[in-house]
């Protein structure tokens, strides 16, 4: 059997147990995704895009067992007044969720909507994912579009004051969840999406975001602390003229996390910021893979990724800025840094710039380093105990990523979580 055949037969086994929900308006989108998936097959470790992250556990037919973890503390966004939505192992928890309604938006579950005859999401579902398959294939995103069991469809027509707050709980050691959200922001609309929690033993989540002209989308998420959980997530977003997209992710623990973010700046003067702070101790593999395409004039994009790694943890960053020939006056910035707290941890980075316009400013940098001993001694000499001083310097290292969060309330909550994690993971 050739490589291609192996991939396809592996894929057949992988999806054999998954079902495609029947839907009048979404069947064609699901079928198209299956076709895309069939043409690419599952990723293999030798694939350039999977060089640093072994897809084995994501390819496996069964989700690898993941022990439950009770942090014995409240959820990160508990104090935020939002529209609460709860999924347990990928299954909607109606009792724990608020009524699905809000001013200036329609919000409903994918599984409810698919029973209807027609839906606004018919023109959206899977479309950004399909576009995002070139020039790099993303099989797990196609798999998600094809087989997602549920998700939220949110249509935003104006400014939504309260954030939508989705909590993903993990209650079953072998759960294998696939969720797909579609968010469509009309011209001038505003929404903040919060997400938190580990979701499942293995979680495949996609989020397609359509940001129309002058619309604003803020996204802050934390990926839960369950040590053995695995997750592959995709964010696909299209940005219109003068629109704003800002996404921040905090990842603490997790045996495997692959977060892909695929953004296209299609309207002039759009702004896209994507940032991540991840902290891992021991059996931790975290991969941020970002692809930003500038296809309009005067757009700004920032990628800020910081990783704190110890006891053999691994961090991966693959980030690309593609500037199309007509995307003049592009301002692109990309930084990926790791703080290695011991000699066993590693950081693998592949920053890429591909620029076809001549009037652009793009910068990128990637570093790996240890705690600054001079700074540490300075703090200690003032009476700050060494572990506390190390935490202070570590938080300072992460600050550039956390500062990308627009809301001070939300960034304070994130810092609080980081402080807690650092305190628990002192040497």
């Amino acid at each position: 059997m050739g490589v291609a055949e192996t991939r396809i037969s592996q894929l057949q086994d992988r999806v054999a147990g998954l079902g495609v929900p029947a839907s009048a308006w979404n069947a064609k989108n699901r079928a198209a995704a299956i076709e895309r998936l069939q043409s690419m097959g599952l990723p293999a470790p030798r694939d350039e895009y999977w060089r640093f992250t072994d897809p084995k556990s994501l390819n496996a037919i069964e989700a690898p067992n993941a022990a439950l973890f009770d942090p014995k503390e409240t959820d990160v966004f508990d104090t935020v007044d939002g529209l609460e939505i709860v999924f347990v192992d990928g299954v909607f928890d109606a009792a724990a969720s608020d009524d699905l309604s809000g001013l200036n938006m329609s919000i409903e579950r994918l599984s409810d909507a698919e029973g209807q005859d027609a839906h606004w999401a018919a023109e959206c579902y899977g479309t950004l994912e399909a576009i995002g398959q070139t020039p790099v294939q993303r099989p797990f995103a196609a798999l998600n579009t094809a087989y997602a069991t549920d998700g939220m469809l949110i249509h935003v027509t104006g400014k939504v004051e309260k954030p939508v707050n989705i909590t993903y709980r993990h209650a079953n050691e072998t759960s294998d969840a696939i969720l797909h959200h579609v968010i469509k922001l009309e011209e001038g609309a505003e929404l903040t999406l919060l997400e938190n929690g580990p979701a499942a033993a293995r979680f495949n989540k996609s989020c397609e975001v359509f940001v129309a002209d002058r619309a604003t989308f803020h996204h802050v998420r934390t990926q839960g602390r369950d040590h053995e959980r695995r997750a592959v997530t995709h964010i696909f977003a299209d940005l219109g003229t003068e629109s704003v997209f800002k996404s921040f992710t905090l990842t603490a623990n997790g045996a495997l996390t692959r977060n892909e973010c695929v953004l296209r700046l299609n309207g002039d003067d759009a702004t896209a910021h994507v940032a991540g702070a991840s902290v891992g101790d021991g059996d931790f593999h975290h991969d941020d893979t970002v692809f930003i395409t500038h296809d309009a004039v005067g757009c700004e994009s920032r990628q800020v990724f910081k990783k704190v790694l110890r006891n053999g943890a691994t961090g991966v960053f693959q980030g690309k800025i593609l500037v199309k020939p007509d995307a003049q006056k592009t301002d692109g910035y990309q930084i990926s840094q790791s703080l290695l707290l011991d000699d066993d941890s590693q950081f693998l980075a592949k920053p890429e710039l591909e620029i076809y316009a001549d009037d652009v400013a793009c910068s990128h940098g990637s570093t790996s380093g240890a705690i600054d001993e001079e700074a540490l001694f300075y703090l200690c000499s003032r009476g700050v105990p060494k572990d506390q001083a190390t935490d202070l310097l570590t938080l300072a290292f992460l600050a550039e990523a956390v500062d990308e969060i627009e809301s001070d309330t939300l960034s304070d909550l994130i810092v609080e979580k980081l402080e807690g994690w650092l305190e628990r993971h002192r040497q």
Binding site: D372, E373, E374, A375, F377, Y378, L379, C380, S381, R382, G383, V384, P385, K386, Q388, A389, L392, L393, L395, A396, F397, A399, E400
Partner: protein, 251 residues
């Protein structure tokens, strides 16, 4: 207060002896100055006393009010009342000056079994002490020493000293990089802290600083030892004749 006996120190990485038996006692309420040519071991002495890595004590002792300093971690030495004003204060991006000061003050209080200072109380005290050192609100908000001028960094050191209220202050070439006005400001800050319960060890190359911070005792250090001790007139002698005469005399 500070008692150093026959202190011998080598670089940990290489077999190079820097301090070859330093004897020095600083009494409470007194200001001692150490002068000496480059490479005599002055800064090494300050680093070894505050606990910096990279030095190996091969003999002798150093204690503060009877407590063996060399057995303590740097933060424990600070909590015991030792303070080093750095020759080159370290820039720490991402850590706010105010956060740093408050963390340090409360860490020391905690280590000594005292109550932490409330945010309001801390703010009041820090503002008052910053004002006398001409440190504005912006400098307090900025990350520690980042983008500070040479003079601002040294004033910031003195502010930390004023907030931490140590028993024993070591000033390592605090005059380096300062213009006349800045030196005056910094010296006034130091003089305001002079107290019968507090000792000072002022390390400097030049007599200039000692015009502002008047020492009780002046030591000349050379080649890893204190080679001569005298009153303030010793500093003047150095200023006029350099070190050559003194070194020749003790050789």
């Amino acid at each position: 207060m500070l008692e150093i006996k026959n202190l011998q120190v080598s670089l940990a990485e290489e077999d190079k002896e820097i301090l070859k038996g330093v004897d020095l006692t600083v009494e409470a309420g007194k200001v001692h100055a150490i002068m000496g040519p480059n490479g005599s071991g002055k800064s090494t002495l300050s680093y070894v006393l505050s606990g910096k890595d990279g030095y190996e004590v091969t003999g002798g002792s150093a204690s503060l009010d009877g407590e063996d300093l060399l057995e303590l971690e740097p933060e424990e030495r600070a909590a015991a009342g030792l303070f080093l004003a750095f020759q080159y204060p370290v820039e720490i991006p991402g850590v706010g000056n105010m956060t740093f000061l408050r963390t340090a003050v409360n860490a020391q209080r905690k280590a000594r079994g005292e109550d932490e200072m409330s945010a309001a109380e801390f703010l009041k005290v820090v503002r008052e002490r910053a004002k006398t050192l001409k440190i504005d609100a912006d400098m307090l908000k900025r990350p520690v020493n980042v983008g500070f001028s040479g003079g601002e960094k040294k004033r910031n050191e003195i502010l930390q000293m004023a907030m931490l209220e140590p028993k024993m202050c070591i000033l390592d070439e605090t005059d380096s990089g300062l213009d006349v006005d800045a030196m005056k400001l910094v010296s006034e800050g130091v003089n305001a802290l002079r107290d019968e319960d507090r000792g000072f060890l002022v390390i400097t190359h030049y007599q200039r600083l000692l015009d502002h911070i008047k020492p009780d005792v002046v030591h000349i250090m050379a080649n890893g030892r204190i080679v001569k001790t005298g009153g303030p007139e010793l500093a003047l002698e150095v200023e006029q004749n350099g070190y050559a005469d003194i070194l020749a005399e003790v050789a």
